[in-house]
């Protein structure tokens, strides 16, 4: 009997050829040309606690734009966002196959950051694929106050209540004629305004006080009722010189002194308010009060209405930058 069994022992052993290059190619295609799953809204917008809902990775912006990657997907995929992916997650959702492959996935943005996932690549014996594509940069508005210290009142005026406002005309922004890679999409990406060089652009000898009293939302011209003096950090982030504030109450005790503040930044997380109503307009208004001390000449101050949209030199519209992706499997 033993003599019968022993030869049968080795019959079951099977050799399997693994084409590492093919696995690397498959992974590169999944990452470069596919938006992943779920894709609308994309996996990158899931809460980190819902990580298990991701069925497949994919870095492309949409299925209509292969090889054009989403910045948010890239940072999320390489653990620079709110997710913490393990090697096992990358194997299950990007590499696939029954075998626990070792891998290294890296992506470099031209003149920008490099991202890595996986183990360091060995000297030889790995499957390899290199892909070229483009990454879409998220739009933002940057107001350099040096160019906007142009409003004036006459010499006898002692104070001015004014403001800086940003207008979202969703009908104009969400323009389906513009291809998705160049379109501003407030439904699914953050909108940021950075007001720079504020106090250094003022005639400081002339201005005795500048206070930002409050920030308010107006929809189609009327004030939106909200609890403005509460932190709502999943919808906006408002900071002056790096310190976070609420949008402010109506009390003067909450006023923010801007006399020595250079950077005012307002970041709205997607979806921005009312962006799902395509014909609505949202205005974000920062109320600012100036008091003047000098009385030798007319007073100038910073204020203005800024439109968040296409064709304004202070809006960095979505633009593309070349990237290179390398996948090594062994």
């Amino acid at each position: 009997m033993v003599i019968n069994i022993v030869p049968g022992l080795f019959v079951g052993i099977k050799g399997a050829d693994i084409d590492y290059d093919a696995v690397a190619y498959r992974t590169s295609v999944i990452l470069m040309e596919d938006p992943g799953s779920p894709s609308d809204p994309g996996w990158e917008y899931l809460e980190s606690s819902d990580k298990s809902d991701i069925e497949r990775f994919g870095l492309s912006l949409s299925s209509e734009s292969p090889a054009i990657l989403s910045e948010k997907k890239v940072t999320g995929f390489f653990n620079q966002g709110n997710f913490e992916f393990t090697d096992g997650d990358y194997r299950d959702l990007a590499i696939f196959g029954e075998i626990d492959y070792n891998f290294n996935i890296s992506l470099k943005v031209t003149d920008g950051p490099v991202y890595y996932a996986g183990s360091p690549v060995p000297g030889t014996g790995y499957g390899y694929m290199r892909r070229l594509g483009l990454i879409r940069n998220t739009p933002s508005a940057e107001i350099d106050c040096g160019e906007y210290n142009t409003s004036t009142v006459d010499v006898n005026t002692t104070s001015v209540n004014t403001g800086i406002s940003f207008l979202f005309d969703y009908d104009e922004i969400i323009n389906a004629e513009i291809p998705v890679e160049y379109r501003i999409n407030p439904l699914s990406e953050s909108a940021a305004f950075d007001i720079m060089n504020f106090s250094s652009s003022l005639n400081i000898s002339d201005v005795s006080s500048v206070k930002l009293t409050k920030v308010r939302y107006y929809k189609d011209g009327s004030l939106v009722p909200l609890n403005y003096d509460r932190f709502e950090n999943d919808t906006y982030l408002f900071s002056v010189d790096g310190v976070n504030y609420t949008m402010g109450s109506d009390l003067s005790a909450d006023d923010i002194d801007l006399l020595n503040s250079d950077n005012i930044s307002y970041l709205m997380f997607p979806p921005t308010p009312f962006s799902s109503q395509a014909d609505s307009e949202l205005k974000v208004v920062m109320n600012i009060t100036y008091e003047f001390s000098g009385n030798s000449h007319d007073h100038s101050y910073i204020s203005g209405d800024f439109v968040y949209g296409y064709g304004y030199d202070y809006v960095a519209e979505p633009y593309l930058t070349p990237v290179v992706l390398e996948v090594a499997i062994w």
């Binding site: 084409d19 075998i99 890296s106 892909r131 296409y310 593309l320």
Partner: protein, 171 residues
Amino acid sequence: MVIPNDEAQLLTIEGLVAGLIMLTTAFFIVGTASVYTPADVHISDMQTEQLGFDALRVMSVPYSYGDESELEEIVSEIDLGGVNETTATLQFRESFSELISSGTGATTIVDSFNFSSSIYYVDSKEVLNKSLLYNAENYARRPSVSTGRYVLSEWDGSDSIVRFEVILWRE
């Protein structure tokens, strides 16, 4: 019938059964094993072709909305001839080489590619082609792959679709 002193017989049976169990275990363990070996690597041509295709795609997508893509601009400049053609050809060679030799730093890139390109266009129902200046010439002696892309650009004084082809090989 009673056999006296039969303990040895019991021990023998026990020993045989134990042996069988061990053999069966070994049979199942060894029998389900697979040995993985790397297969032949023969898709380097495909890698080169994909890289060339990717590079042409990157060059034919405008970086901002409403802009001309780099390849579109190069094609229309080549059509103008003279100094414009020389400058545009050199620009193409520089941009394309830079793209196909770029890496992330995770692996060592062997930058031994060379390439030769031409533009195919239709003139009076005839398909003609124009070789670019400064083309490397020895592709016939190397395994080479061809990749191409249609470009809508100014050609022969009107908006035309031309095919921009690149033959790529490793020196």
